[in-house]
Amino acid sequence: MTGPAARLTRPLVRFRFDGRAYEARAGDTLAAALLANGVTLVARSFKYHRPRGIMAAGVEEPSALVTVGTGGRREPNTRATDVIVYDGLEAFSQNAWPSLDLDLGAVNGWLARLIPAGFYYKTFFGPPRRWMIYERFIRKAAGLGAPPVEPDPDGFAHRAAFCDLLVVGAGPAGLAAALAAAEAGQRVMLVEQDARVGGALLRDPVTIDGMAGVPWAEAAAQRIRMAGGRVLLRATANGYWDGNLVTVVERLAEPGQAPGASRLAQRLWKVRCGRVLLATGAIERPLAFAGNDRPGVMLSQAVRGYVRRFGVVPGRRAVIATSHDDGYRTAFALAEAGAEVVAVLDGRATPEGDLVERARARFPVFAAARPIATRTSGHRLAGVTAEVAGRTQAFAADLLAMAGGQTPVVHLHKQAGGELDWDEVTQAFVPGPSRQGQRSLGAAAGRSVLAAILAEAWEAGGGAARDFAVEDPCGPAQPAAAAVIPARLPGKAFVDFQNDVTLDDIDLAWREGYRSVEHLKRYTTLGMATDQGKTSNMAALARLAQAQGVAIPQAGLTTFRPPYTPTTLGAFAGPAVGDHAGPVRRLRLHAAHEALGAIWLPSGYWFRPRAYPQPGETPGEASLREARMVRSRVGLVDVSTLATFEIAGPDAAALLERVCATTVGRLAVGRGRYTFMLREDGLVFDDGTVWRIAEERFLLTSSTGGADRMAQHLSYVRNVLAPDLRVSVVNLQEHHCAAALAGPRATAVLERLTGDAAPLHMHCHRTAIAGTAVLVLAASYSGERAFEVYAPGDRIAAVWAALLAAAQEAGGGAYGLDAMDHLRVEKGHVVVGAEVDGRGTPADLGLGGMVRKAGGFVGWQGLQRPVLADPAGRRHLVGVESLAGPLPEGAMLVGRAGDEPQGHVTTAAPRVAGEGWIGLALLRDGASRHGETLHAWSATRGLDVPVRIGPPLFYDPEGARYRD
């Protein structure tokens, strides 16, 4: 049972539109439900605010855009034809003020002659500020629906899938192909954007192998599932990418609807396919005539769909305007449902065939006839004026069903890199050669005879050749001839309904020389609306071809870009939002720091303790206290995030010599050295320390922020530049944690815990703390005697606890990153990201003396380039000492405020030992400017601080404090 009688058997569903309550039947689209309730005015168009109704029944709908849902689920610009009504659905009209019925924006329609395509390029001159004022109004007037302002309460998932065969579209062609493949044992996925399978079978009463179309389709889907195939409904294949990857967006909730238990609104499938069959159907073309956009003017197939699938008759008195047989099918469907067909206007001079003959017996059929204008009353269609064999004739009608030809849906085929062929009979582009093996079936391939479509699809799916018995009361469909666009048309004949692009606009663009399709499109905005030109592109092309006097394929073709239908951003983002917007790396000792009252500092994906403020302390006070604690007693800091690599093997030294610009090969066992690394262009990109643990075993540490880059670099040098070396590189940072103990009492604390003599400065040894074997490196970053203690990750808590207790006993405690920063500034140690900014040579950073003159490391060649080799004119690392209060970090170094910068303050810090502010800076020719007075000028912060330039070393210049 189909049609209005069947409708009443479906359960009631309640929804609201613009605040008014309505009833729908389960399974209705919002468009069907509105039509059933006699609501024909649904929207206002983008530019002229013309009253618009429902034109189509699927995703190609250009006009009936509404806002669905509220709060964070509000979805503006939702096609009423593409939302299934659910209980409680709230929809609102948009782009209309004060109301849909009386929309003041409609004045734009009266001004239409003033504001043709591209008018804004020709006016609104003057200074930019003036344009900004016009722009404010233009922006307000543009933009269709209002955006949500709240965060999205629902989730979106991503899911990967693999299949032998992906079939897109569950019309008869897609079903037949998927069924054949599934029953042949292939892993099959069938995806359908609609909520039901069946496609064209939902609107046309055919039988297949003796079964009515819709039950046949449902049975086929069932059999596919039984054979292990996956059938997804409300699932749109929206992108066909390289590598036979197809993305499919599955709606788990309708727009605006609260999702079920999964709390997921949509799921994005990434399907890597063996083969892809595209059975995506075809889209009906509208006709061009004045007033073709009025509520009540609809696509012919859509009308049939509303009648047969939803049992909704969109009008009582219908005119059919058609260029091929399709209009006749609609005429019969309407008549069957009790509507009166007042005229069939057939654009063909001599329509013939069985269907036409049968229609002539029932309806007034006019040959060589086409609509030329419409009449409305109260925003809805009241009559149609037609030209019949050269004479004008008027019909009273509240529905005009138009059939202007078929446009196969070739989007995915094109996205996949396929080419198109031109079919002269249907005046349509059809899929041509493919690049990724994709193949199109059914209407998407320009086919029209169902029995042949089924047989071809069956074979394409891998089934043995067979015939399908198809009965169609209208007889087999003929290829859909396209309507011819008249050379001249009075009035506004819309081509792009949503963006209000008329034939006149296209003609204007042509006149002005915007003649390539892309220029035309961009100048007029044709095809750029949310319907992506599904109903407009062919008409525009035809017009362009007409103007050029060439065939359509010569007029060109615009590209088809993903997504096939507009896709919710949340679906692309998937779970990577909110707390998952980026990974969080927690220190192994997170809880221990937390217990000490740490405040946190983001550092890449890590969160590291910034300071441990005591009650009443600001972070700044806390870090200064902590730094002074280190200078005077002892402190403990978590340095687990440092990049650490173990480099082992007979050629370990040889590898390090290639990576490091300093001498490392001659390092004695048990000793360590400061080192740095260059990029191939000769500039410093990271620094750290290198230790010889055993004859053939080294440890390399480098910066936290550069850890991934260093891992990559080591792997590159080892595997690409020096594949013959007998050496292994292991990233220890993933296994080990470390704490650094620093201060005048550090030696005592360490020795008490280990019972061993502490290693000398830049020596290392193995010992044990808290029953755990640890490696101790005596390196000082703070300028005090200091030790980095490395322990396996799962043992660090005990080691840290023991070190902390002992440090506290010695009058010390934990210190954070800010204190560490203060300490290192006093010592002039550089940091990647501040002083090491990827633009400096070793000499710029005062490290020139350490570079191996003989080369033999990455970057040595780059360093020979004259501008790098000559220090003159380069920025050098210097120390700056404030002569008046706090030093603004990042400030420019200038002779006087207002001058051009000569350098900038890279890091600033309060003095730990003593008072006042100091900093590090990069200054042009800085090495020779010690003693000069300059200004640290921060215009953005309104600060201007006189500073004295000096060496980048403020504390213990002899290094007496960390040597023994």
Partner: protein
């Protein structure tokens, strides 16, 4: 998304891999400065095929040489990067 047939792991999604450089832009440590800078900075950058060094960074971490068409995105061959694959 490209599908790269890692010599070690088999076909894997491109997002697991990282492009490093073209084979002909390899700078060897032994190269003289002028030759090194020429390799580094003077790139063929063909609108067609080229040999490229990639790494299966989020997989086996191995290095390989892809022969790839930069217009069609077809991958014509994948070789493990051993001494024999290097110029």
């Amino acid at each position: 998304m490209l599908l790269i047939d890692c010599p070690h792991c088999g076909p894997r999604a491109q997002e697991e891999f990282g492009y490093d450089r073209t084979l002909d832009s390899l700078v060897r440590i032994e190269d003289a400065p002028d030759a090194a800078m020429a390799a580094l900075y003077a790139r063929a950058n063909p609108r067609g095929e080229d040999d490229e060094i990639w790494r299966h960074t989020f997989g086996c971490r191995g290095w390989m040489v892809l022969r790839r068409d930069r217009v069609s995105h077809a991958i014509l061959s994948v070789r493990p990067l051993g001494p024999e694959a290097l110029p």
